[in-house]
């Protein structure tokens, strides 16, 4: 093994300088990594803190469908739409529930097309939007079925909330 005294001072300084540069680079990388890890820790702690708080209902009472199961709530939602349409003597051309996305189980959505007299359509939308639990038309299109006729068609997507026990 070569003793350290065998290395000339110039060569020793070069070796030390190289080691210094390498260590400094690794330290620099360490600072970057440390910042990332501290950020991750802060996020984790914040998530834990928020998670310990009690969950509050999304809507005030009676505004959401409170059935114990989602299927029950979806059935009631669909029934309310069809009943209101038939009650106002509207033709239900289509009524279809939209399957829930995994993160949006509490959202109930349905697409429907109904047609009928202008006055009946207005009464129908009024009944749906004023009743409880709340139903809103997220997007809609209302058109006259033929020019000059009093019959109108509404093609809409209705939205409501389901929160068990509310």
């Amino acid at each position: 093994m070569i003793g350290i005294d065998c290395i000339s001072p110039l060569r020793m300084i070069c070796l030390l300088a190289a080691a210094t540069v390498i260590s400094a680079c690794l330290a620099w990388l360490g600072f970057d990594r440390l910042a990332e890890e501290r950020q991750r820790l802060a996020v984790t702690e914040a998530m834990a803190l928020v998670g310990t708080r009690p969950r509050t209902p999304i809507m005030t009472s009676n505004m959401a469908f409170g059935e114990p199961g989602r299927r029950l709530a979806a059935g009631r939602f669909e029934t309310r739409l069809s009943k209101a349409a038939l009650g106002h003597r509207l033709l239900v051309e289509r009524l279809q529930m939209i399957p829930a996305q995994p993160d949006y189980q509490k959202l109930l959505m349905a697409e429907f097309v109904v047609s009928g007299g202008e006055t009946e359509i207005k009464r129908f939308t009024h009944e749906i939007e004023r009743g409880t639990p709340a139903i809103r038309f997220e997007s809609w299109r209302i058109t006259h079925t033929a020019t000059g006729e009093p019959t109108v068609r509404i093609d809409a997507r209705a939205l409501a909330l389901w929160e068990a026990g509310t």
């Binding site: 991750r40 993160d103 949006y104």
Partner: protein, 232 residues
């Protein structure tokens, strides 16, 4: 360079079939090369000494350079020559050592902190696993709340149609109305005189931000105007 590089011979020889063959033979001298050809079943015609190959010359050059470098190093700093170093080098050496030690300590300290932080994060994740799962439910609730609020707070279909019916002049009829998922509203109106309706819509507090986007003649002789905007 090596003193006797001529160990390669370019030989022309006849095969037993009568065909000519040219080979490079490595041997000590021409006689040895001839013997090797005969042993290989060839009849030598010419044997010509050639110089070292390109690879051999390159290896020799590298060897010489390395030897020269070693000699110079020994002249500059013979073994155990630390005591004879120049004063500037003597001064620089401890500084370089301190700098290296500092840099090394900094690196070790930083990476130690990284490991400690990672360990602590894992600890928090394990200890607060239930709370973190609950946090995801909070986030989902917040998203749904935002979506529901935008749908609930936007002017309802009944309000929109009622308001339109209230402000439309008798000469104007609503042909179609659409609201998309972003809340933008399109109104298509049939009128005989667009100038009758324009000031009404411009002055209306709800439809003030709407802009006229198209105007076409219908088969009935009326003009269909389309307005677009986000009602307030």
């Amino acid at each position: 360079m090596r003193s006797d590089p001529v160990t390669r011979f370019r030989c022309a020889a006849l095969r037993s079939s009568g065909a000519t063959d040219i080979r490079i033979v490595h041997a000590l001298n021409a006689d040895a090369a001839r013997e090797r050809l005969i042993a290989a079943g060839l009849e030598p015609l010419t044997i010509e000494a050639v110089g070292p190959s390109l690879t051999q010359r390159l290896a020799g050059r590298l060897h010489d350079t390395w030897r020269h470098f070693r000699v110079r190093q020994d002249q500059i700093a013979p073994p155990g020559a630390t005591a004879d170093a120049t004063p500037i080098l003597k001064l620089l050496l401890p500084i370089a050592r301190w700098l290296m030690a500092g840099s090394l300590a900094l690196m070790l300290g930083t990476w130690s902190l990284v490991l400690i932080t990672m360990g602590w994060t894992d600890h928090v994740r394990r200890e607060q696993a239930a709370a973190i799962v609950s946090y995801r439910d909070h986030v989902t609730d917040a998203r749904i709340r935002t979506l529901a609020q935008s749908a609930m707070l936007a002017p309802s279909l009944t309000e929109t149609l009622g308001h339109l019916a209230a402000i439309l002049p008798a000469e104007t009829s609503l042909s179609a109305a659409t609201r998309d998922r972003t809340g933008a509203l399109w109104i298509e109106l049939d009128t005989s005189d667009p100038d009758l309706f324009r000031p009404i819509l411009v002055d209306d507090p709800i439809f003030r931000s709407m802009k006229e986007v198209s105007q076409v003649q219908t088969n009935e002789g009326t003009i269909r105007i389309t307005w677009k905007g986000v009602p307030r």
